[in-house]
C-alpha cells in the first residue's frame, strides 16, 4: 500500500475508514475550500474514490461541515468542534525551519486555527507543536515558506 493519507476531520482509523467509506463524494462536495479531494488509482485500488486532503496544496480550515454529511460513519458525526479533530500531528523539521536556522518567521504560528495553543513559540521564538492540541489540519504545512515545507502533517494512522 502507498503512503498514509490525510483524511477529513472525524475520520475513523484508516483500516476501518476504508471499510466504512462508500465513496459517495458528499464530503468533497460540501467542502467550501476544495480541500477534500478524491483519491485516484495512483493512491491504490482500494483507496480510489475515498476523500483525501493534500495539505500543502489546500489544507483543512476546520469548518466542520463534512462530518455531519457523511452517511456511512466513516467520518464520525460526533466530532463537531474543531478542538476534537485529530487528523494527524504536525511535525517540524528543524533542519529546514527558518526559525530553527536563525531567521525569524511566524507563518505557522500565526496561521494555526488553534492560535497559540497547537503551535507555541518557545523562549527563543522558535515554533513548537503541542501534540495534545494539534488537530492535523495542515494549515501550517500550507503556509510554510520553506520548500519543501519544514512543518508537515503526519496522518493519524501513521502516528
Amino acid at each position: 500500500m502507498s503512503k498514509q493519507l490525510l483524511r477529513p476531520p472525524g475520520a475513523v482509523p484508516e483500516a476501518e475508514f476504508l471499510g466504512r467509506c462508500i465513496r459517495c463524494g458528499k464530503c468533497a462536495q460540501i467542502c467550501p475550500h476544495q480541500a477534500i479531494r478524491v483519491a485516484s488509482l495512483l493512491d491504490g485500488l482500494a483507496i480510489m474514490g475515498t476523500p483525501v486532503i493534500r495539505a500543502r496544496q489546500a489544507p483543512c480550515y476546520l469548518c466542520m461541515k463534512c462530518p455531519p454529511v457523511c452517511p456511512s460513519g466513516a467520518l464520525d458525526k460526533r466530532v463537531r468542534k474543531r478542538e476534537q479533530v485529530r487528523m494527524g500531528v504536525a511535525r517540524i523539521d528543524k533542519k529546514d525551519c527558518l526559525n530553527w536556522q536563525g531567521t525569524f518567521c511566524r507563518s505557522c504560528y500565526d496561521h494555526c486555527p488553534l492560535f497559540n495553543e497547537a503551535i507555541i513559540m518557545d523562549s527563543a521564538l522558535r515554533p513548537v507543536v503541542n501534540k495534545k492540541k494539534c488537530t492535523g489540519c495542515g494549515v501550517c504545512e500550507h503556509v510554510c515558506p520553506a520548500d519543501p515545507a519544514a512543518i508537515s502533517i503526519t496522518p493519524l494512522g501513521a502516528v
Binding site: 476501518e16 476504508l18 471499510g19 466504512r20 467509506c21 462508500i22 465513496r23 459517495c24 463524494g25 458528499k26 468533497a28 462536495q29 460540501i30 467550501p32 476544495q34 479531494r37 478524491v38 485516484s40 488509482l41 485500488l45 482500494a46 480510489m48 474514490g49 461541515k65 454529511v69 452517511p71 456511512s72 460513519g73
Partner: protein, 265 residues
C-alpha cells in the same frame, strides 16, 4: 396519455441534477448533496441499498443510519418496482440513447441472448461473495449510476476523472457492438438487488384478462422494449422489466376503452 414525455423529463432532470448539485454545493447551497451512491435532500438521505450493505459485507462495519437511509429506496422498489432504473439512472439514459443510435445506424450486435434472470442473480451473488471474501468495495466500483454521478462531480471540481469511469465506456461499447442493453438487462448488480425487493403487489406491466378480445397481436409492445422482453408473454417479466412503460405507450390499442396493457399493483 403517453408515459414517455414524463419519463424523458425526469431523466433529463436527473442528468441536470448531477451537474447542478455539485455546482450549487460549491456556491454554498448544500441542502441537496451527494451522488447516486447516496443522496441527501434536506433532512432525508437516500442510499442505494447495494451500497448501504457494502460496509457490513466487506468490512463487518455496522451503521444503523446508513442502513436506515436505504429504506426509502427499498420501499420505492417494493411499491413501484425498478423505477429508479428507468426513470432516474443515468446509465440507463445513456444506454437508451446508445441503443437508439445503434438501431438508427443499424449496427449488428453479436448476440441477443433471451433475458433470463439467472445470469443477473449469479452476477450479484458472485459480487457479494467476492466482497465478503476480499473486503473490497466492489459495490462502489460496479454501481454505474454512482460512478457516473460521482465522476461528474469530480470533473466539475478537480477537472479530472478517475479510472472508475472506464466501466461506463466498456458498458457502452459492449452495448453498441456485442449484446444489446447487456448491462441493464443482464449484469447490473444495483438493478438486480432493486428487482429482488418485490412482492405480489409490486407495480408491474400486466396484460388485461380480457386481452384476448382487445389485443391484435401487432407485437408493437415487444418491439418497443429495449430490454427484449415480450409483455404479451404474461406477468413473468420482473425482475427484468424496469417499468419504463414503453410497451404501454407502443400498444396500438392504447386509446381503446379497455387497454390490453397497463401498470397494475
Amino acid at each position: 396519455m403517453k408515459i414517455a414525455p414524463f419519463r424523458r423529463g425526469v431523466q433529463l432532470l436527473s442528468l441536470a441534477a448531477m451537474v447542478a448539485v455539485p455546482l450549487l454545493n460549491r456556491r454554498g447551497f448544500s441542502a441537496v448533496n451527494g451522488s447516486f451512491y447516496s443522496l441527501t435532500v434536506g433532512p432525508v438521505t437516500f442510499t442505494d441499498p447495494l451500497i448501504a450493505i457494502q460496509p457490513l459485507l466487506a468490512a463487518l462495519k455496522f451503521d444503523l443510519s446508513l442502513l436506515g437511509s436505504a429504506l426509502i429506496p427499498a420501499g420505492i422498489a417494493l411499491v413501484l418496482g425498478r423505477v429508479f432504473c428507468s426513470w432516474f439512472c443515468p446509465q440507463n439514459t445513456l444506454s437508451e440513447l446508445g441503443d437508439a443510435i445503434a438501431t438508427r445506424l443499424d449496427l449488428k450486435r453479436l448476440a441477443t441472448p433471451p433475458p433470463k434472470p439467472l445470469v443477473r442473480y449469479a452476477v450479484l451473488a458472485f459480487m457479494l461473495a467476492a466482497m465478503v471474501l476480499t473486503g473490497f468495495p466492489l459495490a462502489t466500483l460496479l454501481s454505474a449510476p454512482g460512478i457516473i454521478s460521482a465522476q461528474t462531480a469530480r470533473l466539475l471540481y478537480e477537472s479530472s476523472v478517475g479510472l472508475e469511469l472506464a466501466l461506463i465506456g466498456l458498458i457502452l461499447l459492449a452495448e453498441l457492438f456485442v449484446v444489446r442493453r447487456v448491462w441493464c438487462n443482464h449484469l447490473c448488480p444495483v438493478g438486480t438487488l432493486l428487482g429482488l425487493l418485490r412482492w405480489k403487489r409490486t407495480m408491474r406491466v400486466v396484460m388485461a384478462e380480457d386481452a384476448v378480445h382487445t389485443c391484435i397481436h401487432c407485437r408493437e409492445c415487444a418491439k418497443a422494449c429495449q430490454l427484449g422482453l415480450n409483455p404479451m408473454a404474461g406477468g413473468l417479466i420482473i425482475p427484468q422489466c424496469h417499468n419504463c412503460g414503453a410497451c404501454i405507450d407502443a400498444c396500438e390499442k392504447m386509446t381503446a376503452a379497455r387497454k390490453p396493457l397497463s401498470f397494475r399493483f
